[in-house]
């Protein structure tokens, strides 16, 4: 019976493909192409068969994007909304499984790293077509890589492969083989292809022709993006049934999370991602089956002191901020457990360092969060020449210790974090002035004028590989926030981080890379250029009517297995 149903499934798919046969090589069942009415009949029968397996087909999945997508070109994606759309529409050669965090073949059936890490050779999947029927071949991969690495395109993903304008040597020995050679070794090269959506070199629809489970059918600016099932999608389930199971995806562009909550509770939406702790607790009380706390996410909150020599700050304050003991003392004075409990209602954990436990391979399990200990904080401050007098801390030159912390206005969680840190520091005699600024003013201060003392912001590691953090850890990097764009490392420990990061970036052995990056994490934990405060949990809400949902902490959380998601029969019939 199982084989019978699988056969019907295959026939139905062939029929559907045959009915809209594209020009080119994709030739499946020529007799069926002449008989569209028979194809429709077979399709109907297959639908019945699919229903018999218990896996419902059809229906519309609905959820919200929290900002307008900036682009539909998969190579130009830089914002989260466009990233979510790319995930559902673009085909990639290799996919990072969001659950296991392992690499899985997609459009490439196999691959091997060649030329001492400078290149990669792919064996491509055959008989695959874009959403408009244009066949997929090695030429498309070559075209995509050439376009991606074109300096004039300014593709964000190109940076990961090396500097913009990297001259890549591309060979296509056969229609299903492609070999890419870069001028220098690229660490973790395979993982980078998870972000590279393949474009068609021949399709008249250009980047709108997709190889993923869906394609963009309609875009109403400011309102919604509608995706439709890609009729040529190559993937089948274990029973050989066509995927994706859902026919359409409607993405509402909705910034107001309260409206999203109301619509979710009404059943108008199937998924809520990145749910706040307040909404999570409210939903848990009303719809306990719908909410899921997935544990630590890749998102953390941190603060740092301005150590830039260009900063227009008094010299004595620069000395405080450059003092390791001062930074360690502040870290010890902050009660991270309280931050998690009060600000995140327990849906967070004290942060250990730059890598969250959610990043299974690269997380350094040997690190522990800095312990809350005001006595240790005062001891460290004493060693650095500070003294407490009448409840006020003074430095060696008798300057009262007072500094400001800037954070972005409108982010209630960060404002609460700042207020709690303010209270914690008051206990060791430090006056902290909390300053809330709009985001652009903060960016200007931390990257242009350097006119700030300390800053509290969040960090999201989109890429699991530490190579993507080169722009943070290298002392010459622009995002080396505490002291960016250094001509040469200002301190021995920054020089050591530079050495370790460059070493891991040119090493192919994952174990050796891990050992070096573990050392980087240890140095960061010791020297505290960033004070990691909390790692937020990933909170999602999934409608009970959505089947096969298995949300992941990695983006796009609940829809990482979009092709397998199905709506309950009563919902899919609506």
């Amino acid at each position: 019976m199982k084989h019978f149903l699988a056969l019907w499934g295959r026939l139905s798919t062939c029929a559907a493909v045959g009915y809209r046969r594209p020009p080119g090589r994709l030739t499946i069942g020529p007799q069926l192409t002449k008989l569209p009415h028979k194809a429709a009949l077979l399709l109907t029968l297959a639908w019945s068969a699919a229903a018999a397996t218990g896996a419902p087909y059809g229906g519309e999945l609905r959820f919200c994007l929290y900002s307008e997508p900036k682009t539909f070109n998969p190579l130009l994606v830089a914002d989260t909304s466009s990233e979510a759309i790319r995930y559902m529409t673009a085909g990639v050669l290799i996919r990072v499984n969001r659950q296991t965090q392992e690499l899985e073949p997609e459009l490439a059936v196999s691959w091997r790293v060649v030329s001492q890490g400078r290149g990669i050779a792919f064996k491509l999947r055959q008989r695959v077509a874009f959403s408009d029927g244009t066949p997929f071949s090695a030429e498309d991969v070559a075209y995509t890589m050439r376009t991606l690495l074109d300096f004039n395109l300014h593709a964000p993903t190109a940076d990961s492969f090396g500097a913009g304008g990297t001259a890549v040597h591309i060979e296509t020995p056969a229609a299903d083989e492609v070999k890419l050679i870069f001028p220098a070794p690229v660490a973790g090269i395979e993982r980078l292809f998870d972000q590279v959506g393949i474009l068609s070199s021949k399709s008249p629809k250009k980047e709108m022709a997709s190889l993923g489970p869906f394609y963009v059918a309609q875009y109403k600016p400011g309102s919604e993006v509608d995706l439709s099932r890609n009729p040529y999608y190559w993937k089948r389930d274990a029973q050989g049934q066509r995927l994706p199971r859902i026919d359409t995806v409607r993405l509402y562009i909705q910034q107001n999370r309260d409206m999203e909550l109301i619509r979710f509770q009404r059943g108008e939406l199937n998924i809520m991602s990145a749910v706040s702790p307040e909404i999570f607790d409210q939903l848990q009380a009303r719809m306990p089956a719908a909410v899921r706390d997935l544990g630590p996410s890749l998102e953390s909150e941190m603060m740092w002191f301005n150590q830039s020599p260009k900063a227009p700050l008094p010299a004595y304050k620069k000395l405080w901020f450059q003092s390791r003991e001062f930074r360690r003392a502040i870290s010890a004075a902050v009660n991270r457990e309280d931050l998690c409990r009060l600000v995140y209602r327990g849906h967070a954990r004290p942060a250990e360092g730059p890598i969250s436990p959610a990043n299974r391979f690269w997380f350094n399990a040997g690190l522990k969060p800095h312990r809350y200990d005001p006595k240790e904080a005062l001891d460290r401050l004493g060693k650095a020449g500070f003294h407490l007098q009448d409840g006020q801390l003074y430095d060696a030159q008798s300057h009262a210790v007072e500094f400001s912390i800037v954070t972005n206005a409108g982010n209630q969680a960060r404002e609460k974090l700042a207020q709690m840190i303010q209270q914690d520091l008051k206990r060791i005699g430090i006056r902290l002035n909390v300053v809330k600024l709009d985001y652009s003013a903060i960016i200007d201060r931390i990257s242009q004028s350097f006119d700030y003392e300390s800053c509290l912001l969040g960090l999201t590691n989109v890429d699991l590989d530490p190579d993507a953090q080169m722009n943070v850890w290298l002392s010459s990097a622009s995002n080396h926030q505490w002291n960016p764009n250094q001509a040469s490392p200002a301190t021995p420990w920054e020089a050591e981080i530079d050495r370790l990061m460059q070493a891991q970036g040119s090493e192919l052995n994952p174990a050796r890379r891990k050992a070096w990056f573990d050392k980087v994490q240890e140095i960061v934990s010791q020297e505290v250029p960033f004070l990691y405060l909390v790692t937020r949990n990933a909170l999602v809400a999934v409608s009970p009517s959505l089947q096969n949902a298995n949300p992941s902490v990695l983006r796009p959380q609940a829809v990482w297995n979009i092709e397998m998601l199905a709506l309950a029969p009563e919902v899919s019939k609506k």
Binding site: R257, D258, S276, E278, I279, Q282, D338, R341, L342, V343, E402, F403, S404, V406, A409, G410, N411, Q412, E415, K416, A418, Q419, M420, Q422, Q423, R431, N433, V434, V435, K436, L437, D438, A441, D451, Y452, E453
Partner: protein, 266 residues
């Protein structure tokens, strides 16, 4: 109507007294975080419960009321003085000064004040103590709030410039400054008083807007604006969290009631 006016005035007075001496009603510091008691319900210790960080809501409400009820009239006074100065001189002197003042008024009125406030605030020094942030916030509101009042004052002064009493005063040889101070401004005093009183609720709401955006009075000092922040998400834990909103609406209504009653009585 008189009864309503008296009731509104009594309420305002009572609130003002409570705000000036909050220690009479609570002994808990407004910034103390009882971290083991976040979102505590109403109790003898905390008559309005505690907020998410375990701070006493009543104490924060009283101190927040003090900030709003004392600072908003001060800002209104500042803007009224500026309006009297600019509008009075423009209307009385006329000529190039009038044209320049009108252009400045039009320019100021065409600027989106909220964005202007945000921009100006971003340019201020960072190490500002919380108390000074109150002066900065309301000072900015006052400094940016004069143009509409100045336009009305200017119109009043223009009318007076051609009036018999001013002509007679000038014919008697009184200098311009003395005519302005002794004869013109006293005659536009009702306009200035009305502008001053109308500005107070507007400035209370302006601070609330800024506070709601997180750009008002600095933490940990409370104001009605930052006390309204937990309501932003519509997920307020209990009724006591709505107290600042209720109080603000009550005060703004009372302020308007006293003004409208005054017109009727007159």
């Amino acid at each position: 109507m008189k009864f309503i006016r008296h009731l509104a005035e009594t309420l305002l007075l009572a609130l003002l007294l409570a705000a000036v001496w909050p220690g009479a009603l609570t002994r808990t510091p407004y910034d103390r975080q009882f971290r083991e008691l976040p979102n505590a319900p109403v109790s003898r210790q905390f008559p309005l419960g505690t907020d998410e960080l375990g701070r006493d809501r009543l104490s924060r409400l009283l101190y927040g009321t003090r900030v709003s009820l004392l600072a908003a009239p001060a800002a209104a006074l500042l803007s009224t003085i500026l309006a009297a100065l600019v509008g009075g001189l423009a209307g009385f002197l006329g000529g190039w000064f009038d044209r320049a003042a009108v252009a400045a008024i039009d320019l100021m009125l065409s600027l989106p004040w909220l964005f202007l406030l945000i921009i100006v605030r971003a340019m201020l020094p960072l190490n500002v103590p919380a108390l000074l942030s109150v002066l900065v916030t309301f000072g900015l509101i006052g400094l940016l709030g004069w143009p509409s009042a100045a336009r009305i004052v200017r119109a009043g002064c223009r009318t007076l410039r051609c009036s018999g009493l001013v002509l007679q005063a000038r014919a008697c040889g009184l200098p311009k400054g003395r005519v302005l101070l002794k004869h013109v401004l006293p005659n536009v005093r009702p306009i200035l008083t009305a502008q001053f009183r109308a500005s107070i609720p507007i400035y209370i709401l302006a601070e609330a807007n800024l506070g709601l955006l997180g750009l008002g009075v600095a933490d940990p000092l409370p104001s009605w604006g930052n006390l309204l922040r937990p309501l932003e998400s519509g997920l307020a834990p209990d009724w006591a969290a709505w107290a600042p909103l209720i109080l603000m609406l009550l005060v703004v209504s009372c302020l308007y009631l006293t003004q409208s009653s005054e017109v009727v009585v007159r």
